[in-house]
Symmetry: C2
Subunit: 377 residues, 2 copies
């Protein structure tokens, strides 16, 4: 196997594929990165059994040559050192070759690295998915769908299904929902054409890693689903993740149909005020803050930490309708929710101090954040 490649393109692909490689894997060959070279270009593969990533560097694109002097073949090299090696090579052109004993040589300028490789035959084959149940999304839209929901997945393995994001099609809308049973984040978007998609639950970690790799240079991404895998594919990227098994809980029951108090308020002001109120309460797990309605459109946000002190702040809402209210909640959950809403104004809908409350952008019904309040006596 032999090829010459542009270091910049190699570096980018290496960094993408590294996100699927874990040094703590139970299958030794998965600490390696697979290199495959054909007349079409170079393909790098990494996997930790849950996530697998393939990144392709084509021979040329838009008139620029990336790969040349090709002798097809494949090998597996130790992933641990490869990113640093590629990053520190002296020149923009890199020559890589391996012989039949899997001795790998990496050359650039006057520097030469010799690494012991492994037989690519030992590297597991990734499943080839039938692309029947597949549809396309603009990449930036998928990134937003993930960004606005994945933070709300559970970090505990007590109920494994909650560590994933629930993805389903309902009424020609694509729904992403995540919850850890203390708060919920949901986003739906209309789909252009009739799409058949089984309801699936994708591990939060997979989506988080996917979002780090996807950039805006790719316009659309193709999503395919089988019984236990989901594949995200762009022109040069193939990102495969296992799905979580089991039934995702029915979450629409959690969402109150009527609210008793509606507050419209500047998103950033509420966020910064809750942030300040939580500063002294960092020690306790929930960093609870309290919200109290005052006269006019005034809202008081306060936080208290025995022996340290307390914080109190008055914020002016744009409007308040309905019953007066005093309610306590986790500052972290509120801040997570507000940070995910990139609109200037939010509408917070309360149903008393004991029931979940909703946070939505004022002008967008597609995004929904729900938080369960905390009881205080």
């Amino acid at each position: 196997m032999k090829f010459t490649i542009q270091r910049e393109q190699l570096m980018e692909s290496v960094q993408h594929v590294m996100k699927a490689i874990s040094s703590r894997t139970t299958i030794p060959i998965l600490t390696g990165m697979k290199l495959e070279v054909s007349e079409q270009g170079v393909k790098l593969t990494g996997s930790d059994s849950d996530i697998s990533i393939e990144s392709i560097i084509p021979v040329e694109e838009n008139g620029i040559v990336y790969v040349e002097n090709i002798e097809p073949g494949s090998v597996v090299l130790q992933a641990k050192y490869f990113p640093d090696i590629v990053r520190k090579l002296p020149q923009s052109t890199v020559e890589i070759e391996s012989d039949d004993r899997r001795n790998i040589t990496i050359r650039s300028g006057k520097a030469e690295f010799h690494l012991n490789g492994q037989d690519s035959e030992e590297y597991p084959q990734l499943p080839q998915l039938h692309t029947e149940d597949s549809f396309e999304l603009p990449t930036d839209l998928l990134k937003n769908l993930i960004r606005q929901t994945v933070f709300a997945v559970s970090s505990s393995e007590t109920r494994p299904i909650l560590t994933g994001v629930h993805v389903r099609v309902e009424n020609e809308e694509l729904h992403f929902t995540a919850t850890d049973s203390h708060r919920l984040a949901s986003r739906k978007i209309p789909l252009e054409s009739k799409t058949e998609l089984p309801s699936v639950v994708i591990p939060g970690k997979s989506l988080t890693e996917l979002n780090k790799i996807l950039d805006d240079s790719e316009d659309t991404i193709e999503i395919s689903v089988t019984e236990n895998q989901v594949l995200f594919r762009t022109k040069h990227l193939y990102f495969l993740s296992r799905l979580l098994e089991g039934n995702y809980p029915e979450t629409s029951r959690l969402i109150p149909e009527q609210s008793k108090t509606v507050v419209k308020i500047d998103t950033k002001e509420l966020l910064q005020s809750v942030d300040r109120a939580s500063l002294l309460a960092k020690e306790n797990r929930n960093n609870v803050v309290r919200l109290i309605m005052k006269e006019g459109n005034q809202i008081e946000i306060n936080g208290n930490s025995p022996e340290v002190g307390n914080v109190v702040e008055e914020v002016v809402a744009d409007s308040i309708e309905g019953e007066e209210l005093k309610i306590s909640f986790s500052a972290k959950y509120m801040m997570d929710a507000l940070k995910s809403i990139h609109y200037d104004q939010v509408k917070v809908e309360f149903t008393g101090a004991m029931r979940p409350f909703l946070i939505r952008p004022v002008d967008d019904e597609q995004i929904l954040q729900l938080i369960l309040p905390v009881r205080t006596y």
Copy 2:
């Protein structure tokens, strides 16, 4: 105590003073930051017993008012939360007051923090130094003196004196020297006037923290020394450090008088080549690399890691004079030394493969780096 202050100036001083405050101190009041207000302005103090820092915000400077509405007084507040509180306050003006029960109130905009403070009488008095043995240096020169030496101090407490930088005056030159007995870094500068200075050893940690605080807006810094303290003073900063006791070893004996091989070479090329050669050797403590002279002005740098692989690179020196050589050394020590030398070309002087070698800039006799090679068989 009461005052109104500009948040930006308060933030800067808080960040400086925080560098002397440790949450792990054995004296509880030292987890606090002392605030003292007088008609001259505000003074913040922090200390961990080894290092003490006072930062002053004057009432006004260059026509800009920083502090007003002053009622003199003092209090100690918990340092743990103060930086975050100041950083997240909503407006550029901050009002701080404390009553006679040490209840502290911090107000900005509509936000109000209440903290429990402590009596400033309980805060230890910092020693007032006689400024007899003192001299001035340009601030940027002091920063360089520190930067080019402090990295070489010992990180082990086996020989505590080596954890400090040796500062002395000799032949009307100011010398800074640091060594961990494996490598040494030294810089000397001529002093303008006759300066009497006892030979002192300043903890490396103190100088590192000092360098983080000093910026180039201060032209000069005054340095005063007593039996067991050193004081660095600028217009608004007072930085006090204890000195290390004991006799610093005589290091000039280590420096070979004659060399057998002299290599002149581009600093960056040597640095990057050694960096690459050490990539595979990260596991072993010394990350040893080898240097071998070749024909002409060629030098080979190589590194080897059993089971992983090896690296080899040819570098062209600008000139090589003297005996042929094969030598091994720690890549980390070589890279530390080369990174501290901000000159394009260095002169490396070897005395065989078993004796220390020197690295100096080609055009500057003031800077000296010395490294003990590693034996290989």
